[in-house]
């Protein structure tokens, strides 16, 4: 892997996610390419929201809102570059002014991996996590997407979800090809109702997994898929979760459920999605 995208709203930069991004770049010796989405064509957010963004970026708010938005974007880019320099990350910046979603899809076509903050949104309304924008990126991106954790203290284990469907094995393969460096980590494969998968296929899947990973564990539970999966996923620590199985709905379910349970646990996990 050589080219990782760091996608961010130009007004709302989460520098704390840079720990995780920097870790992946160092691990895979990749360049970090920041995509600053400025959303000039269809800005819906109110002046007061822009003003809040400006204050978050550390500006004194005295200007008109249009030039203030520009100024905030510039400041955020500068903050990003400085932070990368301090952390020793090889980075570059693309500024995309058009419709955020279509800009991201085109950029993703020419990238190996896309990193995104799960709360990224261009809507003036308050949204649940992951936002509609993030969901759209996840289902249309032309490279795998990782939702970044907001605090990061290393990766302790890999967690794969497997349901025997083509899309779940596709995601696992993509992850494996992108991160060959992680094959020595503890690896857990979780599935709900594993008996539903043809035994012959389960055998082939295990054969493939054992060829790629050295410390494997298989966990499973019976019953309702949604409940079972959340049960298996929550409470894990420092894990990098690969969601190919159970689709996008499962992911929102996972997030919403965990919101109720404990927000901190969820945002400490990175989630990898590769759609098919």
């Amino acid at each position: 892997m050589k080219k990782i995208l760091f996608v961010t709203d130009a007004l709302d930069l989460h520098l704390e996610t840079l720990d995780f991004a920097g870790y992946l770049c160092g691990l895979t010796k990749s360049k970090l390419l920041a995509i600053f989405l400025e959303n000039d064509e269809s800005e819906m957010r109110t002046d007061s929201m822009v003003r809040t963004a400006a204050i978050n970026a550390g500006l004194h708010v005295t200007e008109e809102s249009i030039s203030l938005k520009q100024h905030t974007c510039d400041t955020n880019i500068q903050r990003f570059k400085t932070a990368c320099e301090n952390k020793g990350i090889d980075c570059a910046v693309h500024r995309d002014r058009g419709n955020p979603l279509s800009e991201v899809i085109i950029e993703s076509r020419y990238a190996d991996l896309l990193l995104l903050h799960p709360g990224t949104t261009f809507s003036p309304d308050i949204e649940e996590t992951p936002s509609d924008f993030v969901k759209d990126v996840m289902s249309h991106a032309e490279c795998p997407v990782v939702l970044m954790p907001t605090s990061f203290s290393g990766i302790g284990e890999l967690v794969f979800t497997f349901d025997g469907k083509a899309s779940s094995i596709h995601a696992i393969k993509q992850f494996t090809y992108l991160f060959p460096q992680l094959n020595e980590l503890k690896t857990v494969v979780i599935s709900v109702n594993p008996e539903e998968v043809d035994p012959n296929e389960r055998y082939k899947f295990r054969e493939w997994m054992h060829a790629h990973y050295n410390y494997l564990d298989f966990l499973s539970t019976e019953g309702n898929v949604k409940v079972g999966l959340v049960e298996l996923l929550l409470g894990r620590d420092k894990s990098f979760v690969v969601m190919g199985a159970y689709g996008r709905n499962m992911l929102s379910n996972y997030f919403s459920h965990s919101h109720a349970d404990s927000v901190i646990k969820v945002i400490s996990q990175a989630v990898f999605i590769a759609h098919h």
């Binding site: 892997m1 050589k2 080219k3 990749s30 360049k31 390419l33 085109i106 950029e107 076509r109 020419y110 990238a111 190996d112 032309e142 490279c143 083509a166 094995i169 596709h170 393969k173 090809y177 992108l178 296929e201 082939k204 899947f205 054969e207 493939w208 060829a211 790629h212 098919h276």
Partner: protein
Amino acid sequence: MKKILAVFDGLKFSDSTLQYAVKIGIQHNATITGVFLEDPTYTSRGIYQLYSEKEYAVDNVRELIREDRHERDTAVTRFENACKEAGVDYNVHRDREIAIRELLKESRYADLLLIDASESMTRYTEESPTHFVQEILSGARCPVLVLPRHFTDIKKIFWLYDGSPVSIYSFKMFNYLLPVLNDLPLEVISVDVPEVALSNGMVKELVSLHAPQAKFHSLKGDPDVEIIQFLRKQDKECLLILGAYQRSALSMVFKSSMADSLVKEHQWPLFIAHNK
């Protein structure tokens, strides 16, 4: 990459597939799974041969079946010996079901599939690409390397870039799966279409990160004619990367795909991936 499927027809053993499989297996430290498709509906003799001498018909049929079985066993032994000699890990899968379905299922749990372009799994010689190869190309769940009749060492890589997302996907998969071949000189061939021009900057960025020394060729004219003419002038020792093989029923009637024309040439190994 860890698991290569090499597809063999025991009754028409392909030396080229064996040689490429062993070579790639050594280079990438992968396990080769020799898939010997032993479709019970496929024998080396036609029905009229069986009925030629009516009196001894039953004995005759038995004799022919025995001969076929012997030939299939010999093919498996040849494969095993070649792998042992080279010190490559290998498995043998002898599938006795209807050939194509089994193989596509198997591809889901593999990293790369190797097949000779002239493989037909019938006793007739078909014009390439054969139906069998066409079906594999459109249904395989992992990238496919379509091989020429004779083995040559790969010294150079050509990427046929037509601006489509799938050709970029193919390029990325090649980089992830065959990192050793990645260090060979890369040349990008495109026949100028507006979309290519539009996103040229991003392509160059992606290529320059993966292969800093890459050369670009922009050809003018009809892609089907120009690309083949260009390639004929090059050395034989190269591998081509190209995007999918998705064709709608309509386009199949009117126009053969680029991949078809290249398979027909029978000169170069073709790396073909599709993400659907």
